[in-house]
C-alpha cells in the first residue's frame, strides 16, 4: 500500500501531526454529520407543519377572492408568503383549473406552474415539498391551492455548517503547525538525538551519550540507551584490552605459537616461532606448516586443547630438533582454526640424557663406595632405595619392597632399640648393624636429613647408608699394624733399658772389686740381678703378647660363667694370698670364640685388681654383665686403690705402668685391650679417683653374635 509506505517513511513528528489533525478533522466531520442529519430530519417535519399551516391559512383566506374573482387580492394574499422563505412558489387554481393567481419567490426563475395541481396532498420529496389543498366556501369547491417549498434554507444552513467545519479545520491545521515546535522539542529532538547517537556509535564513537531530559518513555529510552552504550563501551574496551593482552602473550611467549587454517596454511607465526624455526613471520605466513613440522600431527577432531606429545621440527636451515606440542582447535565462521603451541625440548632432552648419565655415575659410585641412598616419603609412607642400598642389604631391587616396619627385621636384635630411638628423635646420624637375609653381618652408618614443609611437618627423610664393614676391617688391620710397630719400638726400648743397667753396673762391679769396696759390690750385683730379672719377665710377656696376634684356637661356644671360673682358677693363688672376696653377678650368656684368649681377659683384670688392692682391709672384686643402652657390657669392679681419671686411657698402653716401683711390665691391660679389640669391642676403666676403687668395663660384640657368622669376622 503506497499510502502506508509513504506514511511509514515520514518523520515521527509529521506522523504525529497527521494523526492529531486527522483525529480532529474526523471528529469534527462526524459531529457535523450528526448535526446535519438531525437538522435535516427535524427541518422536514417543521417544514411540513409550517407549509400545512401556511397553506391551510391561505386556502381559508383565498376562498372569497375566488368567489369574487378578485385576483388582485388573491395575489396580495399569496404575497404574504414572503414571510415564509421556504415556499418557493405558490399557485391558486380556479375551479376550472386555470391559474388564478401565483407567487414566485424572488430567487426562483418564473417557472410556469404545473398545469394541474393534482389531487390534494402533502408530498415530501427529497428536495422539495408539495402541498395541494382545495379551496372551499360553504362546501362549494372554488379552486385549488398549490404550494411548493424547497430545502434551500436547509442547504444554506448546511453550507454555513460546512464553512464552520472548514474554518475549524483550518484552525486545527494552524494549531498543529504551532504544536509542531513543541512536539519537536518534546519528542522529535530527543529521538533525533538518539538516532544521531546510534549513528555515531555505529561509526565507532562509543563515548557518545544522550542527555536525559524527561522521565517519560523517551527519557527512559535515552537512559537505557546510555547504559547500553556504556556497557558496549566497556565491553569493547575489555575486548580491546584482552586482544592487546593476547597479542602481548603471543608476541612475547617463549613457546612458539602457530595458527593454521583447515588447509594447514599458516595464519599466525609469533616471535618465538620465528626464533625457533629461524624464519621470519612474513615468510612463514601463508605457507604450509608442513615445512616446519613434516610429519602431520594427529588431529583429534575435537575442539579444545590436547597434548600431541613429541614431534620432529625442522628449522629453516634444515636442522632437525625435538619439539613438544599441544594443540587447540576452534570452529569459526571462516572454518576450522588450529593453533599449535610448540616448545623446543633439545635442552631438556640433553638434560635428561645428562641426568641419566649422572644417575648412572651415581649408581656406579655408590656401588664402588658401598654407599647407598634412601628416601622416605611421609605422605605416601613409601621408601625408595638406590640399587646399592638394595645390594648392601643383600636383596634385589625387584624382589624386595622396603617398608618402615619391615626394615626392623634387618636391624641386629641388639641394635633395634637404639635404631628406633634414633628414628623417633629424627637423629639421622647413627651407626647400627644389620643381619642380611643370607645371615651376613654388616656395619652401617646412616646419615640423613629431614625435609619439612611450610608448616614444619616432616615431609620426607633423605639420607645415605654407608657400609663400613670393610672399612672397619681395614681400620682394625691398621690398628693392629700400628700396635705391631709400637710393639717393636717398645721392645727395642724396654729391652735396652735393663741391658744398659747390666752393662754399666758390670763396669762399676769391676772397679769396686778392684778397690775392695764390698758395700758397693753388693749394690752393683743387686742392680744387675734386678735388671736381669726384669729382662726375663719382659721376654716371657713378649712371648705371651706375640701369641695374641698369632696363635688362634678354633672358636668354640662357651658361657660367660665358664670363662670367669677358669680365669679365677688361674689366679686363685693371688686371690687367696691377698684374701680377696670374688663375686660373680648377672645373667649368664653364651659366647663364641677363642676360649683361652677370652679367659685371659678376666684373668688379667682380676690379677690387676688384686695387685692394686692397696691397704684395703676387706678387698672385694665383683664380676658381672649389664645391659647399657642395648649393649652387653661386662665389668670387673674392685675396691682397691683406684686410678687417677687422667691416666684412665694410658693404663691400656703396652708396657705402661702408673707406678714405676710396682711389679710387672705393664703388659696385662694392653693384652686385655688387644683381645677385646679382636672381638670388635671396647674396654675402658671408670674410677672416681685414687683410693676409690676401679671398674673395668668391656664389650665383646663379635663373640656374642648369634650363629656362625662371627667365625669369619673374628678370623684375623
Amino acid at each position: 500500500m503506497l499510502i502506508f509506505d509513504t506514511i511509514g517513511n515520514m518523520a515521527i513528528q509529521r506522523k504525529l501531526l497527521l494523526i492529531i489533525a486527522a483525529t480532529l478533522v474526523v471528529s469534527l466531520v462526524l459531529a457535523m454529520v450528526g448535526i446535519v442529519g438531525y437538522e435535516l430530519s427535524t427541518y422536514r417535519a417543521r417544514l411540513a407543519q409550517h407549509v400545512t399551516e401556511v397553506g391551510s391559512f391561505l386556502a381559508a383566506n383565498s376562498g372569497p377572492t375566488l368567489a369574487f374573482e378578485d385576483a388582485e387580492t388573491a395575489r396580495d394574499i399569496l404575497a404574504t408568503l414572503k414571510g415564509s422563505p421556504e415556499v418557493a412558489f405558490a399557485v391558486l387554481y380556479a375551479a376550472d383549473g386555470s391559474v388564478f393567481a401565483s407567487y414566485t419567490r424572488s430567487d426562483q426563475p418564473p417557472t410556469s406552474a404545473p398545469a394541474s395541481p393534482g389531487p390534494p396532498r402533502l408530498e415530501l420529496a427529497v428536495r422539495h415539498l408539495e402541498f395541494v389543498r382545495p379551496v372551499e366556501q360553504l362546501g362549494l369547491p372554488l379552486g385549488t391551492l398549490y404550494l411548493r417549498a424547497d430545502m434551500a434554507r436547509v442547504y444554506l444552513r448546511l453550507r454555513n455548517y460546512a464553512g464552520i467545519v472548514l474554518l475549524v479545520s483550518l484552525a486545527i491545521g494552524a494549531g498543529a503547525l504551532l504544536l509542531q515546535g513543541l512536539l519537536r522539542r518534546l519528542i522529535s529532538e530527543p529521538l533525533l538525538e538518539l538516532s544521531g547517537m546510534a549513528e555515531r556509535i555505529a561509526g565507532g564513537d562509543l563515548t557518545a551519550r544522550v542527555p536525559v531530559r524527561s522521565g517519560d518513555e523517551i527519557g527512559r529510552l535515552a537512559g537505557a540507551f546510555n547504559r547500553m552504550t556504556g556497557e558496549l563501551d566497556r565491553s569493547y574496551k575489555k575486548l580491546q584490552e584482552s586482544r592487546a593482552r593476547l597479542a602481548g602473550i603471543v608476541g612475547t611467549a617463549l613457546d612458539a605459537i602457530i595458527t593454521t587454517d583447515a588447509d594447514r596454511r599458516i595464519l599466525l607465526f609469533n616471535a618465538a616461532a620465528e626464533r625457533m624455526f629461524g624464519c621470519p613471520a612474513a615468510d612463514a605466513v601463508g605457507s604450509s606448516i608442513d615445512r616446519f613440522i613434516p610429519v602431520p600431527f594427529q588431529e583429534t577432531g575435537a575442539t579444545g586443547r590436547t597434548a600431541v606429545g613429541e614431534l620432529k621440527g625442522v628449522r629453516q636451515n634444515g636442522e632437525e630438533f625435538p619439539i613438544e606440542a599441544s594443540l587447540s582447535a576452534l570452529e569459526t565462521g571462516e572454518g576450522r582454526l588450529v593453533t599449535v603451541i610448540l616448545r623446543d625440548i633439545t635442552e631438556r632432552k640433553e638434560a635428561e640424557e645428562a641426568l641419566r648419565a649422572s644417575e648412572y655415575r651415581l649408581r656406579r659410585a655408590e656401588e664402588i663406595a658401598h654407599f647407598g641412598n634412601w628416601r622416605y616419603d611421609a605422605a605416601t609412607d613409601h621408601i625408595t632405595w638406590s640399587d646399592e642400598t638394595y645390594r648392601i642389604h643383600g636383596v634385589t631391587p625387584g624382589g624386595f619392597q622396603p617398608t618402615f616396619a619391615g626394615y626392623l627385621q634387618f636391624v641386629h636384635p641388639d641394635d633395634r632399640e637404639h635404631f628406633e630411638q634414633a628414628l623417633k628423635k629424627l637423629d639421622l646420624d647413627f651407626q647400627f648393624r644389620i643381619v642380611r637375609a643370607d645371615g651376613v653381618l654388616r656395619y652401617l652408618t646412616a646419615t640423613g636429613e629431614v625435609q619439612r614443609d611450610d608448616k614444619g611437618e616432616v615431609k620426607d627423610l633423605f639420607g645415605t647408608y654407608f657400609d663400613t664393614t670393610e672399612l672397619r676391617q681395614a681400620e682394625r688391620e691398621l690398628q693392629e699394624k700400628n700396635a705391631e710397630e709400637r710393639f717393636t719400638y717398645t721392645v727395642s726400648h724396654d729391652l735396652r733399658s735393663p741391658l744398659v743397667t747390666v752393662q754399666t753396673f758390670l763396669g762399676y762391679l769391676e772397679q769396686d772389686l778392684a778397690s775392695h769396696d764390698s758395700e758397693r759390690v753388693e749394690k752393683d750385683i743387686a742392680y744387675i740381678r734386678s735388671a736381669a730379672e726384669k729382662m726375663g719377665l719382659l721376654l716371657d710377656e713378649l712371648l705371651e703378647m706375640s701369641r695374641i696376634g698369632r696363635l688362634v684356637n678354633p672358636p668354640v661356644q662357651v658361657t660367660f660363667h665358664e670363662l670367669v671360673e677358669e680365669a679365677q682358677l688361674a689366679v686363685a693363688g693371688n686371690i687367696a694370698e691377698r684374701g680377696v672376696e670374688v663375686q660373680v653377678l648377672g645373667d649368664d650368656v653364651t659366647l663364641y670364640g677363642d676360649r683361652p684368649r677370652l679367659v685371659e681377659i678376666w684373668q688379667n683384670l682380676v690379677e690387676n685388681a688384686v695387685k692394686f688392692m692397696g691397704e684395703q682391709a676387706s678387698p672385694r672384686i665383683e664380676i658381672g654383665l649389664e645391659r647399657v643402652s642395648g649393649e652387653q657390657v661386662f665389668y670387673v669392679r674392685d675396691n682397691g686403690v683406684g686410678i687417677d681419671p687422667r691416666y684412665a686411657e694410658k693404663v691400656f698402653g703396652l708396657f705402661e705402668k702408673l707406678d714405676s716401683k710396682s711389679k710387672g711390665t705393664g703388659l696385662g691391660l694392653a693384652l686385655v685391650r688387644r683381645v677385646v679389640q679382636l672381638y670388635q669391642g671396647r674396654v675402658w676403666v671408670e674410677s672416681p679417683g685414687v683410693g676409690e676403687g676401679a671398674c673395668f668395663r668391656f664389650t665383646l660384640p663379635a663373640a656374642l653374635q648369634i650363629g656362625r657368622l662371627e667365625a669369619e669376622e673374628v678370623k684375623v
Binding site: 744398659v500 753396673f505 734386678s530 687422667r646
Partner: protein, 152 residues
C-alpha cells in the same frame, strides 16, 4: 760461669739408671745439686712447686733438666711440651737421656725445642765418658741467663 752452682733435675723412673747418673756426679766431683723425681707427673709437680715440692729451699729451680722419655703417668715428650710452652720454664735447657734411639722420638723431641738428645750407651766406659762430657758441657762451659725464681 758464676759462683752459684746450677741445680740439675733428673727425671728417671729406673732406679738403676738414676744410680748411674748419681755415681757419675760423685766420680767427677760435680758439686751441683742433683734432684731426682720418678715420673712425668712428679717432674711437673716439681717445676710448678706443687705438693711436696712447694718448699723453694728444698726444691730450687733447676738450671738443666735431664729427662727420660718413657715415664709412668705422663711421658717425657709430654713433659717437654709443657715446659716449652710455658713462658717462664721454656728457657731451662732440657736434655733427653733415654734408651730409645728411635727416629720418631728424636724428631718429636727436636720439634719440641729440646736442647740435646742423648742415647744411653750400652757400655760402661761410654756411659761414663758421656756423663763426664755432659757434666763439663752443661755445668761448666754452658752459660745461662740469670734466673730468679718465678715467685721471688
Amino acid at each position: 760461669m758464676r759462683g752459684e752452682p746450677i741445680n740439675v733435675l733428673l727425671v728417671e723412673d729406673d732406679p738403676a739408671h738414676a744410680e748411674i747418673v748419681n755415681r757419675n756426679f760423685e766420680t767427677f766431683r760435680i758439686a751441683n745439686r742433683l734432684l731426682h723425681v720418678w715420673d712425668g707427673e712428679e717432674a711437673l709437680d716439681y717445676l710448678y712447686r706443687r705438693g711436696k715440692f712447694s718448699d723453694r729451699q728444698q726444691s730450687p729451680r733447676p738450671g738443666v733438666i735431664l729427662l727420660d722419655l718413657r715415664l709412668p703417668k705422663i711421658d717425657g715428650l709430654e713433659v717437654l711440651k709443657i715446659i716449652k710452652s710455658d713462658h717462664d720454664l721454656r728457657r731451662i735447657p732440657v736434655v733427653i737421656l733415654t734408651t730409645s734411639a728411635s727416629e720418631s722420638d728424636k724428631i718429636k723431641a727436636y720439634d719440641n725445642y729440646v736442647s740435646s738428645y742423648l742415647v744411653k750407651p750400652v757400655d760402661y766406659a761410654q756411659f761414663v765418658a758421656l756423663m763426664q762430657a755432659l757434666g763439663y758441657y752443661w755445668l761448666v762451659w754452658n752459660d745461662f741467663p740469670y734466673e730468679r725464681d718465678s715467685d721471688e
